[in-house]
């Protein structure tokens, strides 16, 4: 699969990370692996970008981190905050609308996104 353009990745990356964290808290490397595996490599991002993204999401209050020192090595786990959950819901709607619109324009083939309400027939 081709890798995403940087601008697209900049928009999709945070949503993808928030979505992964919606399933439960994860540490950095876990997120890297999940992104690569679950997106079939499309959303695999350089880790030099992932960690700054996580710090940014934390600075915005969308995720919260904690250090767990109980394991073999201390790890920083990230989890979604209430604000992050709301953001994720909003992002989902926006992405859904975007993909619906692209489908209506036949940019995308029919897929499980459906058509946007009030969209072209």
């Amino acid at each position: 699969m081709p890798k995403l353009d940087r601008e697209l990745m900049r928009g999709a990356g945070p949503t993808a990370v928030l979505q992964l964290l919606a399933a439960g808290e994860k540490y950095g490397y876990e997120l890297v692996e999940a992104l690569t595996r679950q997106s079939d490599g499309v959303l695999a991002m350089g880790q030099s970008t992932l960690y700054p993204m996580l710090y940014n999401l934390e600075a915005k209050g969308l995720v919260k981190s904690r250090v767990d020192k109980t394991g073999a090595r201390p790890r920083r786990y990230y989890r979604l905050t209430g604000k992050g959950e709301k953001k994720l819901v909003a992002d989902r709607k926006q992405w859904s609308a975007l993909f619906g619109a692209l489908q209506s324009l036949s940019v995308l083939p029919d897929a499980p996104f459906g058509k946007p309400a009030g969209g072209a027939s």
Partner: protein
Amino acid sequence: MSVAIDGFWRRARHTPIGAALRGRFDGQLDWRRRLAEAGLAEEPVRCVEQVVARSRLWMVERVEVAEELIAHFQDAQAAGVSPGQAVADFGDARQAARLIRRAKRAGRPLVWHAWWWATRGLLVLGVLYVAYAMALLTGRPIVSTDYVAEVNESVNRSPATSHAWPIYSAALQEIEESLGPMTAAEKLRAQGRYVAPLVRLWRRLPGNEGSGDGFDAWLQQNRAIIDKLHEAAAKPTLGLGVGPAQSFTPNACRLLGLGDPDQAVDPDDLWNGSLMNAMYPHQELRTIGQLVSLDGEAAVDERDASRAVASIRAIHGIADQAGEPPLHICMLIGSAVRRMADRLVARVLQEAPGLFDDAQLRDLAHLISKPTREPLHYLEGERAVFFDILQRSYTESGPGGGRLSAEGIATFGEEMDLDDSTVYAIRPLMRGGGQPGVLSSVSTHALAMLRMPVAAHSARTRHDECVAAGQRMRQAHDALQTPLWRHPRYASDERDARPGLLQMLSPSDRWMAERWHREEARREALLIAIALELHRREHDAWPGSLEELSPRWLPELPVDRINGGPLGYRVIDEQPVVYSLGIDGDDDGSRIPPAMDEEHAKAEGMTAFHEYRIGPPLTAEERRSPRKHDFRRDPTMSDGDWIIWPPDYVRSAKD
């Protein structure tokens, strides 16, 4: 031992303050140690080191980032990813450091953000301030108008044949030759310096520094010089401008004592080209006028009427020539010279009334009644002086704009109430001397220089000065044309909260106007006195009122310059007395205010003033509220009349 010390100091350096205060030097913040102990291969270690070191974050933040990246690479290692591949997957360490730094800083507390923006803001302001200070310091005024040429314009336009200066110059040369070598006393006084011939002669004149001994003899022996001065005085123009172009010719310098005649005169050494600093050789005409006047006095003593009349005529010519340049100082010189002629006429009318025949008296009346230059002529010159100083003290930033330059601050800062330390710091830099020698002095100067923009801003701008000048000149123009009884509104009585150049440099219009009225009153008094004498000759008696003089001997009877009404007139001790009713408007029967009476002033323990303080009539408010030592509100100073004829007349309450 050395390792132990290194270890301690290393831990101490990387211990949080709280732990250090508790005496626990655990080196918690030593991320490099943690990295070294993490068991990573060399490549990931280098990568983490590069990211964390380049992030330039707080130590606590570095530790957090280092721990996370260590865990990341340990996870990769545990997942069977080779160190090289893990580092390759991680990506560009430099970019990571930059992005991490940005993201971590975004997450810092609000107080830090406030501090960060405040310091950056202050830094920017500081840079702008320093740049502005530099611009002010390096900004130089642009001299675009030659005001000296404007002032000298009429001289430059006049034909050379009408110029008196070449004749005066020859006369001065002859004076120098007539004086011969310096006497021992003159040498001692000169202290090895050259003294101009006119100064040497002036010192010998009676009433000056010398006793006057030998002057009469000099006068007898040098009649040709006096005749030459009369010839020069008859010329319509002096033909000598202000400034170096004409005044600083070597011969003029030698004769007028400007500079050292033994050395070539470089005008630039003596003069910066400004009108205010220009040399006015016209001042020397006062001594020339004194010479001619003394000859006139001698002629009266000898009852030589035609020589006395010629002297009076010559003095009038000299006064006109001295007052040619439209500059206030020249007005004063012209007035001073003209007073010499007036004194001579007055002396003849009082001491030897029969000396001049009727034709000579009429001739003198015509001469005296000839209009002199009005103060407005000199106001124009003062406008030129002001704008010349303005263009030399202010920077020019477009149409009418500009700030007081460093040179302007150094020159006028004190008078303009600017910060003294700034003025003193800038002064040596502007004048090439007194450079700060020690470090403390340098820092003091640097601080003062930094305050320069504040000083420049607290001074009025060039535009402010121009607007104020235009307004003041119009006000002064109106005031000088308004009779005293209409209460002129003097611009110089209004004080601005921020003193500017104008307020500092322009002469007081009140002073100019009142001086002008005094001069005019003296001139009118002489005309009345001549008319009275002619009346006496025809009727063998003084007239019963001044109205009898007009129009037979006076085409128009002068009015009281203070009140606008008729002048007071009395015959006391068989001598006519003419007077203004004064600022109180009451006819006190030619009695002077008590404070002008020496005896009264002495008895009251006050200093007598000898000149009547003229001004507009007292207002109702001033009459209602007398005030001691206020020349208008103190009745001892205002309750009396202003005697205009005879001069030096004293009639106190006792008389």
